[in-house]
């Protein structure tokens, strides 16, 4: 029986299993490192339920760090998947929700929601979603003309959308005078610290169905990379697949933006790395991006917590510091 198992299924298991190990390692690091000097040994003892019981450490691990690493896993997985989908649909290896301005659009929506005084769910999530759909439409309109279908034009229009979103965000912030300002700014830069288990649960309920939906269409994404016409004549409903994937991705990205602001370049770094390791087959890359992207953001968040002498910085700072140079390198390489 085992010998007849298709190659794909075997690869899927191997890849998922190894990335699961990476994710678990990252999660363990995330649980054990932080500003309280409890040490790894105490954390291991606490996780295994042996040794002296420390209620203080219990709270730190399960009430503060655990929701945070779960959030980082979900957000990292979503953003990587978002990058993967946009790269496939726009046939552009440099596309990514943050670079295209989708994240910026969601942020405008989210800030408007926050300023009106909506709750994070469903209010702010919904305004963020409208923001992301708005920018998505703008990008599609701009790139649909025959003349600006080219790669660089798409990225350039993304840069402009981002610049515009940045201006609108600053405009909205300058209208805000009260104490919310500091919180909004910190959130905007990709802060993972302000969640509890309930919020993580709500976010997971929104994202997990989308993950499966994207996986369901993963073979269609492979075929779409051969060109719309070839895909259609191989039986793909091109329009339906494209619209579904774009809306689902925008929804996922806006949901993460409304919870932890702008975390950039994850969708660029992770799919590139995974494509180098496992090849371009989306049926493998979709689960790989969810697990690998999750691990990546947990690692970045660990760095963001460990690097500063005092306090911490938003994880978005770290991802941008890694991602932006990589983007420039890739741009130079694809420019041959």
């Amino acid at each position: 029986m085992n010998t007849e198992k298709p190659v794909l299924i075997k690869r899927l298991w191997v890849v998922s299993f190894s990335l699961m190990l990476v994710l678990l390692t990252a999660m363990f690091l995330g649980l054990s490192l932080g500003s309280s000097q409890s040490g790894m040994k105490a954390v291991i003892q606490n996780l295994l339920g042996i040794g002296p019981h420390d209620p203080m450490l219990d709270t730190i691990i399960w009430k503060i760090r655990f929701p945070r690493i779960l959030l980082a896993t979900l957000v990292g997985g979503t953003l990587s998947l978002g990058g993967l989908v946009f790269q496939a649909l726009l046939k552009n290896p440099l596309a990514e929700p943050y670079i295209l301005g989708i994240s910026g659009g969601s942020a405008i929506g989210a800030i408007i929601g926050i300023l009106i005084g909506f709750a994070k769910f469903p209010g702010v999530s919904l305004t963020a979603f409208s923001g992301s759909i708005g920018t998505l439409l703008l990008i599609l309109v701009m790139s649909s003309g025959q003349t600006i279908l080219k790669k660089d034009a798409l990225l350039l229009s993304g840069v402009m959308v981002n610049a515009f979103c940045g201006a609108v965000i600053m405009f909205l912030l300058s209208l805000t005078q009260d104490a919310r300002l500091h919180n909004i700014i910190f959130w905007l830069m990709g802060d993972l610290s302000m969640v509890d288990m309930l919020q993580v649960g709500i976010l997971a309920a929104m994202l997990l169905p989308c993950f499966f939906l994207v996986f369901w269409f993963s073979n269609s994404m492979n075929l779409l990379l051969m060109g719309k016409e070839m895909a259609q004549t191989m039986g793909v409903n091109v329009k339906a697949v494209t619209v579904t994937l774009l809306v689902a991705t925008s929804f996922m990205v806006s949901a993460t933006v409304s919870y932890c602001g702008l975390v950039g370049f994850v969708g660029l770094v992770v799919p590139h790395l995974l494509r180098l390791l496992f090849g371009p087959d989306h049926r493998v890359l979709v689960p790989a991006c969810v697990l690998g992207g999750g691990a990546y953001l947990v690692f970045c968040d660990v760095l963001a917590r460990a690097l500063p002498e005092q306090g911490e910085m938003p994880a978005g700072v770290i991802t941008a510091m890694i991602g932006a140079p990589l983007f420039i390198y890739l741009l130079k390489r694809t420019r041959r």
């Binding site: 190659v7 369901w216 016409e229 070839m230 259609q232 004549t233 039986g235």
Partner: protein, 267 residues
Amino acid sequence: MAIDVKNLNYYYGDIPALKDLSFSVTKGDFFIIIGPNGSGKTTLMKVMAGILKPKNGRLKILNRTLENYTRKDLAQTMAFVPQMMRVDFPFSVIEVVLMGRSPYLGMLGVEQEKDLKIAEQALTFTGVEHLAHRKLDQLSGGEQQRVFIARAICQEPEIILLDEPTASLDLAHQTRLMDLMEKLKKEKGITVVMVSHDVNLAAMYCDRLLLLNQGEMMCLGHPDEVLTFQTLEAAYGCTLLVDESPLGNFPRITPVPHKYLDHLQKI
């Protein structure tokens, strides 16, 4: 009939691209569509492939109207090889060819041993089996074209549509590709429908030829009937020399440059 077209019209906005076309392609034929730039060849090909939906007219594939096909049914009946394009993602040759199996597989396209065998046979048929594990973006234009044709064969279609497969290939690759198409027709009994710019290649290989001009059917028939200097000069609007090829009983077309017009009068 492999393909049967009746009173077909297609518009881009208000601009007519195909005007009242009626013709049919016999099963097992090598059928080539020629015509000047902008005559509607590629549009016609895309309509036949089911990519563009015509406003009116009727299109039958194997005696069944196009609307009666599901996407997968159609993909199992007819394969399409579009004009050359770049793929920026590093798929291997065998991965690309296996994609041709997806009309027979589920949503995730999980391929079985049998599909792999069909893909390998297709690669052997097109003579690129030694490239199976190379990356697509490392291949030359001629090799890529063969891989895409192997992918089309993998769909096990009864009809293959190709849009200018010989464009941008060198002379040797052009004839090798046309030979391959002939082999496809003879050994597998597949109906081959091709858009081409190269009237000389068309004359050497095709059974029947359709000359399009400004969206209208100008001439249809055996190469001898279509490739006369009257029809060609009317369609292309340039001076041509048409004589019999030294290779055999088919016409040879030579475009006559301005500076040789005097020579032409002497002949």
